[in-house]
Symmetry: C2
Subunit: 348 residues, 2 copies
């Protein structure tokens, strides 16, 4: 780090300083075996002295590899997408890849297409698309891109390689848990219709009821937000005493709103109405009361997605058929069982 010149030093500069050829420098940097220790030391010293760093673009051009993956996501401040994003980056890093992200406010054919173009121009070797909206799924299948794409959260129906948590199973776990606790019927506050996850959770809920030979009650819709949950909760409160004793809410944020609306209406949870959520956001354990919910293993989603994408990039796996499914897990807390876990009892 002695000299500071306008142009950063090149491999040739280092080679000259070390008295070797540029190729030998390349070998040292590439950890090739056939370099004499003495030579290696000489080269490393020169590199250190000059503060040399290998030029990314030149390397990428020569090797035809950028070692960069792209991720397209939306709603990245929500717990689920943020966790998935984190897991993806960590998994990619473990495989020696860098991740370029494009975060969309809204996921439409246009924004998705634009995002893929951008990433393409940015030289990514493949893309993971966190695309829970159904519209996005179709777009993904149709759009042309010069690299493989793995979808996350699209459900397994699309003709695109994808990785998903089994939402249907999660919904059945939650609903089944409420039925097993003795509730005759279980209501459902669903997410937006154009979200595949919302659809799958509705299906799972319905399946669990039908299996128990119960007629599904009226379906309520929210938009994932606490506010929409609050409004639905006010409506639900009107059904207390008329057969409503248990609600399965499609995510924890809406469940928070439901809990609040019920409380305001003088309805006790879980004594009068039991409430279960979905996602297990970190706050759920501290809701009033602590929320029974379904936990998704985002770390595994990230790892499997990257693994699948790299398989596709290396041509190890035929595109189009690969579908990975991951099991969610029921977390039972006081909102469905008064005598169960209090905060602090479960790991924070």
């Amino acid at each position: 780090m002695t000299r500071s010149q306008l142009r950063p030093p090149t491999m040739a500069d280092v080679a000259r300083q070390a008295g070797v050829s540029h190729q030998t420098v390349s070998r040292v940097l590439g950890d090739h075996p056939n370099v004499r220790d003495e030579t290696r030391a000489k080269v490393l010293r020169a590199i250190e002295e000059m503060g040399y760093r290998r030029n990314f673009s030149a390397r990428a051009l020569a090797t035809r590899r950028t070692r960069t993956l792209g991720v397209v996501a939306s709603n990245t401040t929500l717990y689920g997408p943020a966790s998935t994003l984190f897991a993806l980056e960590e998994a990619a890093r473990a495989e020696g890849y860098l991740v370029s992200t494009v975060s969309l406010r809204r996921l439409t054919v246009e924004t998705l297409s634009e995002a893929l173009d951008r990433l393409s121009e940015g030289g990514v070797e493949g893309v993971v698309a966190i695309a829970p909206q159904r519209s996005a799924v179709e777009a993904l299948a149709e759009l042309r891109h010069p690299f493989p794409v793995v979808a996350v959260g699209t459900g397994s129906g699309a003709g695109v390689p994808s990785v998903n948590v089994d939402q249907n199973l999660g919904a059945r776990l939650a609903t089944g848990h409420l039925l097993a606790a003795g509730h005759r019927r279980v209501w459902h506050l669903a997410g937006p219709e154009d979200w595949q996850e919302a659809v799958d959770r509705v299906d799972g809920w319905r399946a669990a009821l039908e299996e128990a030979d119960v007629e599904p009650p009226m379906l309520l819709r929210g938009d994932w937000s606490p506010l929409s949950g609050y409004r639905a909760g006010q409506e639900l409160a009107g059904w207390v005493g008329r057969g409503l004793t248990a609600v399965f809410v499609a995510n924890d944020q809406m469940a928070l709103g439901v809990l609040r609306a019920l409380r305001e209406a003088g309805v006790r949870t879980p004594q009068d109405v039991a409430v279960a959520g979905f996602d297990d956001i970190p706050e759920s354990e501290f809701f009033a009361p602590p929320l029974t919910t379904v936990r998704q293993d985002f770390a595994t989603v990230g790892k499997r997605s990257i693994a699948l994408l790299l398989d596709l990039i290396e041509g190890r796996t035929p595109s189009g058929t690969s579908q990975v499914s991951i099991e969610p897990q029921l977390v039972v807390r006081a909102s469905t069982f008064p005598y169960l876990p209090q905060p602090g009892a479960a790991p924070g």
Copy 2:
């Protein structure tokens, strides 16, 4: 998109097909003015036909620009970092840059240094480091890197260009609000000591009290988590009736835990104890009761950070002196004023 060959088509291929020189193709792609319309059309047609896409690495090598920025962050599943990340990417995209992210579990000198190295190898032209831990700040100042770095959340003390929300002001707003509401003293549940933001909030809290000629009560510490807030809340509950009527909690998640502990202890909020938080996470409005808190404008943080970083990259601004400060905003809800906003009244 007619032919599918092993090697993707190059600019020379397109040129041949269009019957022009590769440089003309380059001009068309670069939107140069001096190209005849007819020629441009010919070239565009060839590009379309062959599904040609400009090679990122070659372009970057020739121009010496990757148009990629790096971001180092930690705790990216928390609302604050996630929001900042989102804002940064959006701002960078608006300026024509792609963002590569490295998300750390823990921010230490080693992990930070490693992250910068990775990003450097990834060819970024500059880096934004979301580094709220004080240890990270020192590391940033010392580490050598061949590109400019802008710090976010480090406070303005470090010798590094940085962008910060004025945490001290935010704490004074919250504390002052409680004092103005008639509380004699205001307690404080602080964040971890090694977070600059926690320190600044403590300072602001103290300043507001001193200005009102009030002796600061005992300081409590948490780790930002709801669980730590819950435990602190249990302790606080013991002080009710002995001078405790108001608590300023250093973030909303801990405030959630405090609210829960107080409720369990039979302490009413805000009638017995008023509680204010910090961050304004989306859930705050639906806590029981809705939480008074301090909102940070992450979108502005993102925009200003990217603007500063690009200034540094272009050499428009001398490094080392630039400090940007952004004002936070008090959001008053029912946890400090019983007759104030109910959920649904404020925008969702």
